[in-house]
Amino acid sequence: MKRIYYFILVTSVLGISCIKKSDFAFNNLKIDNWTPDWAFPLLNAQLTLKNLVKSNNVVTEDSTGLYSLHYDGKLFSAKASDYIFIPNQSYSSGPISLHTPLSIPSFTGTVSDSFSNHFSYTDTSGAQLEHIKIKAGTLNFHLASTYRQNISLQLSFPNIINTSGSALNINANISYPSSTSDVSIDLSNYTIDLTNGNTTRNYMAYKINYVINGSGQSINSSTDSLSAAIDLTNIKYSFIDGTLGHYSIPIPHDTINVAVFNNTLTAQIYLKNPKLHLAFANSLGLGVSAQFDSLYGLTNHGVYVNMNISPISVAGATSIGSTDTSNYTVDSTNSTIQNIFNPAPNQVIYVGHIDINPGGGMPYNFITDQSTISLSADAELPAWFKIIEFSLQDTLKMSLPKDTNILQKAEFKMLVNNAFPVYASIQLYFADSAYNILDSLITPTNNLIPQAPVNSSGVVNGSTLATSDFIYDHDRYHIMASKVRYGFIRGNLKSSGTNSVQIHSSDNINIKLGFRFMLNVSTSL
């Protein structure tokens, strides 16, 4: 019995003593064969176009739900006074002789006479003016005499009236032996009435009253005379009316950026019923004609398509201070605008001019120094199109995290249920510093966004589901991770069916994304 007792005791003690300190060496703990494989859903997005895109000035929705994209901007604005000028005028009365013949060897008496006539306003535009309100300007009067007598003269313009209602009178004197006299008059705030009592235009009447005071020298009316020269210089108007003649105001060369087509690699899109809404705001009291001398779309590869638009008539303002707005829509019925988006441009370039009184005749016009004409454009691109080819590409700098051996495998699983009338394939390429493609992210070659069915009008009438798996394992990553410097994102977009498709606010896409990754965390803690 003692032996049994001792056996039990000894084995118990030995057993307990078999517990080694190293059995609890938790300071150096090694985890073996831990390769967890985790899978999570990342994203579930039901994207309806109506929720994504709110109607605003850029995007509009019509009553059927069809979206349109708008690019608007002010193409140009011109001030009339920058293009319509009052040119300097030079008039001469010619020799003015006494109406009553007089010949005296030594004249010491006094004789008076008068002379009336008119000047005609002239410029190259063919203007027939009725009134000119002068904001600034100068009248230079030069009097010359062949009389060897003293002369006192008054030049009167009965139709040049100042703000007080007084006509313009200019006095000049010559004291023999002087033979000339010069006078300058500031014409500010004078108004020239060129109608001669509403009977004609460009008519500027004047009258000269003069007195000859004898100097004791001989006088002979058959040989002696006076002459008046008048210059109107630097005339700035605050208002003119009549018929202003013919002018051309340039629409300068400019560009509209179509941002949606930026980064376009190739694009061949047939847009159905694109429109260009032109709005003229005209405070000139005259009609004009707008003409685009050149209007074309330019892709970033230099391809351009010209568009022809007939001259556009723009009505003038009906009263001073008012502005008349003329709207004109350029569409496929009156232009070749449809061609401009085939291929899709990322720039629309234009240059043109505006003709004043293009039709001739004698229409009544008026302008002020504040009169302007401006042109705003709204390019309306309905989401009703057919994509024959549309590729986008963007390049971005990229560097991948160092390979740590922890991540053994990564997988993205994407489910796309598409109810948009367009479908797409997308790829991300990894490239080295010399832009050589090393690898790509997406292995499947089928469309990431599948083709949804459409009806004969191009409206989506169903949805299509596509499942794509992007699997990247450690070996592939290890080969390229340290070399990657750039990423190319390339997308190809096409429209469903064979005809044009319409994008409506009810179109939607459901994207579900799952992520699965396998780790190797076998390590020492």
Binding site: M1, I4, Y5, I8, T11, S12, L14, G15, I16, C18, I19, K20, S22, D23, F24, A25, F26, N27, N28, L29, K30, I31, D32, N33, W34, T35, P36, D37, W38, A39, F40, P41, L42, L43, N44, A45, Q46, L47, N51, L52, K413, M414, L415, I511, K512, L513, G514, F515, R516, F517, M518, S524
Partner: protein, 469 residues
């Protein structure tokens, strides 16, 4: 020493201490070896048909019987940690997971005898025992460890039961009468018991399932929980002054149970016995706090990015996710009374007695949570002189095949000292053992139980005097 280093040092010492002490401090609730020791009045608590050799046995509070056990169906220490070299420990949970069942249990418990008395004479035995018993079972699912170790990617399209954790803990006081009567070769025993529950936690239903959809890995969690508790005061109970003496003497949670046993002596040396123990229940009525959640389901199908495309950049807000999880496990409380059954066990034994030896075979089953643990035990008992009895046992369970136990009984000066365990081998290889138990104590014994067979030799060659300890 840094705080972290100190923590590691402390944890290491604690683990070493626990591993060394477990064989010593672990006891058994269901004792396979003890059924083969009829000399002890405690053996009657596990086989109602057993009768003691002493005419009068008295158990003093605490001293007469103290038992504890720990039981893990899942793994031993070395199933988790293995030595790589003298300075490195390795962990390979994969190997551990391979050894786990779908549902595993860690159980421990203890019982302390407050008083016991037994009188036996002329084939009749009557006794009384009062014991405080504590049973704690913690259930843990294999799928939880699978999820942690392998990730859900390994189980796409499958449902993982990651939340089948359960706690079933009961502390109760048992008042038992132990009666047995011999009728010829047949001895019938029964032990009616009255139970007074003190504390109970009964996770009636604890289910959290996780399903990973193969579509794009949507995660669906379903939860259904029903946890019943009694005798655990909440803040209101504490305000009302509940606890202390009210708790110890609480007799509102009544229960009843019975042990039944029968022994038939085929020959004077060969006997067959069978029985069932702890067939009963406790009705919990006081300080009830039941918590239920579900059945509810929640699917996380990814972050919804609609608002992101409408200008809200906060698409990964965790608020919605948190709210959904709160709804998933939103507990409702009720105070309805409930009943729990005791973990019954049944057995049958065959004993063959010789003069100084006893050979025994036992087949038994124990209800453990919602499953039955079957066991087969071989026992050899050796009696040397009047003062020493030793026993060795081998038990193979359905969850642990190698358990070598034993018992020692020393009797002198009307004192009967004993210690018994079903897995003494755990003391030899504590880091490879999954279960350990021990019962020990000292009874006061007086007189001799005069049995019918005392007219003959109980053990061949042993005199009546020899058996009169």
């Amino acid at each position: 020493m840094s705080q972290l280093a100190y923590k590691n040092y402390f944890m290491k010492k604690l683990l070493i201490f626990l591993c060394c002490c477990l064989p010593i401090t672990s006891f058994c609730q269901d004792s396979y070896t003890l059924k083969f020791l009829p000399q002890l009045q405690e053996s009657q608590w596990f086989n109602a048909s057993n009768q003691t050799d002493a005419k009068v046995s008295v158990g003093l509070p605490v001293f007469s019987s103290v038992s504890m056990y720990i039981y893990n169906t899942g793994f031993s220490y070395h199933d988790v940690f293995h030595r790589v070299d003298n300075n490195t420990m390795g962990v390979d949970l994969g190997k551990l997971i391979d050894k786990l069942d779908s549902k595993n249990f860690l159980a421990f418990g203890a019982s302390v005898s407050l008083f016991s008395f037994n009188y036996a004479s002329h084939g009749f035995s009557a006794g009384l025992s009062i014991n405080d018993k504590l049973d704690f079972q913690f259930a843990y699912p294999n799928d939880f460890f699978k999820l942690l170790w392998y990730g859900n990617g390994h189980y796409i399209g499958q449902t993982l039961n990651i939340g089948n954790f359960g706690i079933n803990a009961t502390y109760y006081r048992e008042y038992a009468l132990h009666l047995s009567k011999r009728f010829g070769n047949l001895t019938i025993g029964l032990s009616p018991k009255m139970l007074f529950g003190k504390t109970n936690i009964n996770s009636k239903t604890t289910s959290i399932q996780l399903y990973t959809d193969p579509s794009y890995y949507q995660l669906t969690a379903t939860a259904n929980m029903n946890v019943q508790m009694s005798g655990i005061p909440d803040s209101n109970d504490k305000k009302d002054g509940y606890f202390g003496a009210d708790y110890i003497m609480n007799n509102k949670n009544k229960g009843y149970a019975i042990d039944l046993g029968a022994k038939y002596e085929i020959t004077p040396k060969l006997s067959l016995s069978a029985g069932i123990n702890d067939l009963g229940y406790i009705n919990w009525t006081s300080n009830i706090h039941n918590y239920t959640a579900g059945p509810a389901a929640f699917t996380f199908d990814g972050f919804h990015a609609e608002s992101f495309f409408q200008g809200n950049t906060d698409i990964v807000s965790s608020q919605n996710l948190t709210d959904s999880l709160k709804k998933l496990i939103k507990f409702a409380e009720n105070n309805s009374s409930y009943a729990t059954t005791l973990p019954y066990n049944f057995f049958t034994t065959v004993n063959y007695n010789t003069k100084h030896n006893l050979f025994g075979l036992q087949l038994s089953g124990t209800r453990f949570n919602d499953q039955i643990i079957y066991a087969g035990t071989l026992c050899y008992q050796l009696k040397l002189g009047n003062h020493f009895t030793g026993a060795l046992s081998y038990t193979a369970k359905s969850t642990s095949t190698f358990n070598v136990g034993g018992a020692v009984i020393l009797q002198f000066l009307n004192m009967q000292w004993y210690v018994a365990t079903d897995n003494w081998w755990a003391a030899v290889t504590p880091l490879d053992s999954k279960n350990m138990n021990l019962r020990m104590g000292m009874n006061l014994v007086f007189g001799k139980n005069i049995k019918e067979e005392d007219k003959e030799e109980h053990f061949d060659g042993a005199s009546k005097k020899d058996k009169f300890w």
